[in-house]
Symmetry: none
DNA sequence: GATGAATGAGTATTCATTCAT
DNA sequence: GATGAATGAATACTCATTCAT
């Protein structure tokens, strides 16, 4: 950042696609680390391993991320962003049935598209101490908001909303977990059928 | 215990409370390690940590377990034994509705009683490579048998058995996970209500 | 060295004196370890000891050698190379008297120049199991070839070749050992005289 | 030792064949340790290993020997005794030809009978520091005496006594070493022939 | 005499991190 | 930006030795 001006002088043509190169390399490191963390675990994935897989030097890693912890944190923040997107925090009032349908559809899509993130998430979510270091306030806040909305959604539609919420939550978590356990070997049809079954249960 | 008289001759003073001491200490180590593994993760729990928490010396750990790996394996084998008990392999023919009810009741009970084991299990189950080192043949075999029986149970009772099985599995896994995420803060009533809800869904 | 230009692009500042640094340090470690192994024994020479003597950190050792075993193996392979050179495997046919003279001269020279290697060799050669892990096929092969040639040399010149070979071998081994026991305190003249004596006995 | 009297009271019949039992066990430990030390090396042979092989408890080892070091020392002292016997220190004056013949005969016999001791000796003899801790004054003294006598023996019989002594020593050491390297696979005839050859060389 | 549980210092090895170039 | 040599604290594990019984 500080010596961008210097570079500019030295190779005036490249201007600052430097920025772009940096962004690409950053992404590369994040992806490589995510895959290793998810599949082997955080502690079992060494910086050396990550840098080798990403084909860059160990030292360079620290040019992009302050520490291994920081790397994990950034990866996790990406995941949080995904989740936040799912929760879609723009309104505070009420979830309509239509919105619930969208939410579920989106959820299933996310699981398929972001398996690795979910693998990592499930590993971390169980170790409370570690987990709490990683989540930030806006995440917690958003989660609470969502829970309030969901509560309201169920309260207005079900006789026994508490249990239905538990069931709903369990199925969401459980399906994701089962999907990962199966090594993502769910057929598209099966996912669709499962989704439809959830619609039947929870859309009113 | 059986050969106490023999030992008496050889070690006139200590007799073999040795046996008892060993069993107790073994249990102590297993428990301590299980708790750490479950809450901090296998790699993040060092032998030093475990020994300190168990108030014994590092060296003594190796008097009882060949290696950290072996310690994990033995813990996991205990869990497998719990699961096997749940699956109850005495018959090969058919699951009755009554048996399904018992299975579910037992399952919920096990989750409450063995939280730590489940925490460990969920962490390990996600890292395929690690996981496969830990499971043994009799476990795999038993699992397959159970799956066959469950398939049959659902085939005979539901129009769309595949989806129902998926739902069933997801709820089982999801409930356990949610229970652990909540730090076991489910009230007894809530668990009962949840169980009842499952009965409604799957007992026919 | 060959791809310096390539490296230049990738690491503009350091070029690859890396190569040179590595070679030097490698040599330093090998020498230090050899001396300790030879004089204190393999097991009694700890990695900490070696690294302290070589004035580098413990960790760096493993940047150059995979393990203590591997370090020993590489040292031993150097020794094998020395021996192979002595045995000089270029011809398969026959040892002339002249060649025997050269062999003996070279042997005495090698002992003087490589005392430490011989110290290590004698220690290892006695523990069969350890020794056999260290020798490689090409060494064994070469040894057999040499033995065949020596057998022929003696068969053609002596009435009782078997005993003469035993005597020959014993003197070679025994002189080396005695030289080491004396802490290399043999005068040059004494070595020469000893060599001459061997010439009288075995050159015909 | 202190509580022998106590034992006497408790089982008056056994009197003190206690002494004998003790001596036997002592011997057992010494033999077991010697074999391990010789074949695997001192450091690679653990107390646990020795005690298991000797079928006694670890603790009991320390009832007989102060430390592992002490155990080695006692083994080595046994070897020294063997050597001293060979050197036969009763006279200070002169070695006759007849005595030299006896010495050689005895030497070859000792090698055959005490391979393990020699294995240990050769390992230790090379590591000066370790070796010097183990030898005692009477050994050094005896060695010097023997060397003086040998010097005189050769001085009176050979033109170039220094070289002949070196040759003599080298052959002795070298033969022993070669014998051990061959895993004691020398035929009796070969040993006899070798001995005869030495007689020819050195008996005058 | 005899046992083996227990200790803790020591060993090989790994790994996040730093830094000169 | 980029490299990889270098560090040292931490890790799993071993082993001589002690000690209560």
């Amino acid at each position: 950042m500080t010596n961008r001006s210097i570079n500019k002088k030295m190779s005036p043509k490249t201007a600052d696609q430097f920025e772009e190169i940096r962004a690409d390399k950053r992404k590369l490191i994040l992806d490589t680390a995510l895959n290793l963390f998810a599949n082997k675990g955080y502690h079992a994935s060494s910086i050396t391993m990550i840098s080798k897989k990403a084909q860059i030097s160990k030292g360079l890693m620290y040019n992009y991320f302050e520490s291994k912890q920081a790397l994990l944190r950034e990866i996790f923040e990406d995941f949080i962003r995904i989740i936040m997107n799912l929760m879609n925090p723009d309104h505070d009032d009420e979830i309509t049935t239509e919105e619930m349908r969208d939410f579920l559809s989106f959820y299933f899509k996310l699981i398929e598209e972001n398996q690795v993130y979910w693998k990592l998430y499930f590993q971390l979510s169980i170790k409370k101490e570690t987990f709490e270091i990683l989540i930030n306030d806006s995440y917690s806040e958003q989660m609470q908001k969502s829970q309030r909305l969901i509560k309201r959604y169920f309260a207005e539609r079900f006789d026994n909303p508490d249990i239905e919420i538990s069931l709903f939550t369990s199925i969401l978590k459980g399906f994701a977990l089962d999907y990962l356990h199966s090594d993502a070997n769910y057929s598209q049809e099966k996912i669709e059928a499962f989704k439809k079954r959830m619609f039947e249960m929870f859309l009113r």
